[in-house]
Symmetry: C2
Subunit: 291 residues, 2 copies
């Protein structure tokens, strides 16, 4: 039974997870939140994100049965090193970072062998960040990736799955390297493309006359460029090789489209767009997505 | 005074324009719609898009004071040639095609000197197409590009502006070459990127394990790939050089991002994302757009 859950970091993801756990009501556990600054503490209390807010990390994780690390990924190494000595035996530790290979290594190295670590990554988010943007429904229907650490007990796996289901998400077990390569393609590549599209267009000498013409299509394609720059940086530094590989694949494919536009017959051009459209439709249908 | 408006082609754009004109109520003009097939005619009547549906082009444009060509762009040349002999003197002809250079040439060549042509392009749309998707509010608040043809009367310009305002859009006068270069950057480049992103990812051997992880970010970035392939083809064939130029600019910029990810310091990477974010925010703010 889980009696105390500590969420470290109450931004969009940590705050939403807390709200979702509270709302589910199926847990009797006390919900403790750790934040660094007095301002963040005040905000977390005002928003009613958790039962108790702590600004001391050791006190926050004291006697917790489950700990969710929801800070920026680069802060996690240090936090694991700090909480390690304060964790009770059998404690389940998880995280919410966008990349998993580095995090799994850190957990292996900094957490004591008496606790279980399961890497986690809810495939949900929005461009607005911070505690104010938190919402209990953020994870509803989303895929929640889980990467079990070494020698983990089946009890911990069960507790992790329960938590994911409680917040309305669907658990998907993957390896860290599969995860990082997959998200590089479907999430990090789009993020880089989106930012590069913004700078390509807005820094053009013609931008002032183009700008009023940009409409919903441009807005959709550039939306990911409005994400948190710090998070984008962390993603690039912790998943470098996979992202580079996907950028190369994409440039190859874009060059194929370029060649078609330059030299292809109208039929060949249309065929390329038909194919892309059908492939996207298949993805939407398979995963019950709506546009 | 406009007594009869004929809309040639009642798909998403033509149908929405008809509905918007009807709704505005400020016009007493009879609204005639031309469609080719009996099925399309039935649908247009059932949806109440226009006052009268014609399947004969000459009858449809007879005694019309204003004609809006809302067919696929490649059909317009033939339509202009066909309607030319049937137009009354002083008639105002306009179109809604996504590219303007070719259309302006055709108008010059195929329409009689007794009529005025103003190229038009409402910067609105959605992925779903066809008469069923038509909605009176489609143009509300959108920019509506206008390219006056040669020797056009100020009366025709006024009538064109009135029509644009009636459907809730904002007229923006541009030259055909400015227009085509601008839309290549903010609309056609995103369309090609979106389709290339779909094929890069879905045709990868890893797609089956990536596919459940793809979420809202992927959906947004690939949305334009669900546009009409025929329309994408027409855009590519009527705006080839501009699109190729923008693809080249984009690949250059993406390569700069690639180099930053590969070799840049974390600070340099973050700075690139900060810049893109700020530039996008400036566009959103300037044009009062919401995300």
């Amino acid at each position: 039974m889980v009696r105390r859950i500590t969420v470290v970091g109450l931004g969009l993801i940590g705050g939403s997870l807390s709200l979702a756990l509270k709302r589910s009501g199926s847990s009797e556990a006390e919900l403790v939140g750790y934040v660094r600054s007095p301002e963040a503490a005040k905000k977390a209390i005002a928003l009613g994100l958790v039962d108790r807010v702590e600004q001391n990390l050791a006190s926050a994780v004291e006697r917790a049965d489950m700990i969710v690390l929801a800070t920026p990924v680069v802060a996690m190494r240090e936090i694991m090193a700090q909480i390690g000595p304060h964790l009770i035996s059998g404690c389940l530790v998880t995280d919410t970072a966008s990349t998993k290979i580095e995090v799994m290594k850190w957990a292996e190295r900094y957490l004591p062998p008496t606790v279980d670590f399961v890497g986690g990554h809810p495939m949900a988010g929005k461009e607005t960040s911070g505690a104010e943007a938190a919402q209990a429904s953020l994870f509803e229907g989303c895929t929640y990736c889980l990467v079990p650490g070494q020698n983990i007990s089946s009890g911990s796996i069960q507790r992790m799955v329960n938590m994911v289901c409680q917040v309305g998400a669907k658990p998907l077990f993957v390896t860290a390297s599969e995860h990082d390569n997959s998200v590089a393609g479907i999430s990090h590549l789009p993020m880089v493309i989106s930012s590069a599209l913004v700078t390509t267009t807005t820094l053009s000498p013609s931008w002032s006359r183009m700008s009023p013409l940009a409409a919903t299509g441009y807005r959709d394609l550039t939306r990911l460029a409005s994400g948190q720059p710090r998070m984008s940086r962390d993603i690039c530094t912790t998943n470098r090789e996979n992202i580079l590989g996907w950028i190369d694949e994409f440039i190859k494919e874009l060059t194929r489209f370029r060649r078609l536009v330059a030299e292809g017959s109208p039929e060949e051009v249309e065929q390329a767009f038909i194919q892309a459209r059908e492939l996207r439709q298949r993805w939407l249908t398979k995963h019950d997505k709506e546009d």
